[in-house]
Assembly symmetry: none
């Protein structure tokens, strides 16, 4: 279920967290569903257990999962507990970076939009 790409500019913990978040948004993971244990997920994805811990920390901080001592991690059903303004702000920063980097590569606005659209489509396919 999890695909990680060590070559991605995105940190590994972020890739994991993002995929959990996405599964929730799609309804593939629902409230109360149990996530794999840290060790299990680390083995499956061959990443450092500390990295999985950090992904789960991030998800817990953002209200996507909750932990029950000795039992494991479970889906809350929410996709985030950040307020919309904060989320928008972060999205803006993120896209600012994308625009900046894209321009540095010598692309213009329409080319950037096309590239983003392609990735969105690609993402949809991989997850289904």
């Amino acid at each position: 279920m999890f695909r990680i790409n060590p070559q991605s500019p995105d940190p590994i913990f972020q890739q994991l967290a993002s995929q959990v978040m996405e599964a929730v948004a799609r309804g593939q993971l629902k409230e109360g569903d149990k996530l794999p244990s840290v060790r299990e997920l680390a083995r499956e994805t061959t990443v450092n257990p500390n990295t999985v811990v950090k992904a789960y920390d991030t998800l817990e901080r953002d209200g996507v999962i909750y932990r029950r001592r000795g039992a494991g991690c479970f889906i809350t059903g929410k996709t985030t507990n950040l307020a919309l303004p904060e989320r928008r702000k972060r999205l803006a920063k993120l896209m600012e970076k994308a625009v900046n980097d894209g321009i540095y590569l010598g692309f213009d606005g329409p080319a950037l939009l096309a590239a983003l659209e392609e990735q969105i489509k690609k993402n949809r396919k991989q997850s289904s």
Copy 2:
């Protein structure tokens, strides 16, 4: 002419390099044009000279500028040294990250596209 945003997720040297690249792409800087000296640009932007050096290093290795000791830094006229396939590859990676992170924030495809478009517009305003 140069504006830097210390709060940006993009490193300062990248912001500087990106702005030079952009000016070349727009035709505001042409082959043979002289860039501000390292010290001058450092003074103007109140960043450390070494940071400017790093920006210029980046631009030189990417074939955008060339340097002459004792004389200064000059525009080559090229916007990049990289072949198109390599540039496309990097752009794809870049957008993969944007999609990944945007989804984590709980946004969907259309929302991401809208956010990117907004940043592109904003960027256009700032540069003119």
Copy 3:
């Protein structure tokens, strides 16, 4: 494994980069091999960590190594990113300088060739 000569006309970061490049060319370093960490190499060679960083920067931009944050620096297996014509061009420039300076010292063609040959032999010894 690394030897640096502070008296050399070559900058230290170049000497380091050159030695890594050479080890790859000889097959002593292979794809996926891990390089010493920045701090470790700095300690071993008693140069400043920033100088090692610059050497690694050079190697990365030339496609000889890739870096993973928190993990380390690894050999790509390539000895250079540059196309052969570009490499030839640079070699020609380099030798133009050698001829120019050698003549200034009052040597003629055969003397220059002999001197180059001697350095090549010396280099071979040091690396083995």
Copy 4:
């Protein structure tokens, strides 16, 4: 008579000095011959007069020319006043750098020798 290449890694003053030295070695300039004035040479080659001054300084220091106040610069007839051991030492350093840089470009010993030979031939043609 003078050809300068601003793109060369060799500093301009060095290129000028080298060409004077070479002309002496070939007998094209003889004892007592007068060199162009600083201003004249600067105009001809479109370099900074200070750069010409530095070239003449270098030649004077090395015993190749002498100055007569108000009259100009003249050839001594010697090609250098450095002792042979010092000249050999400098040549060795110079070639060490060439080997180092050449290897970094991914070339081996025979390729370096071939490239040097080619430059020597090229130099002979240009000067005649």
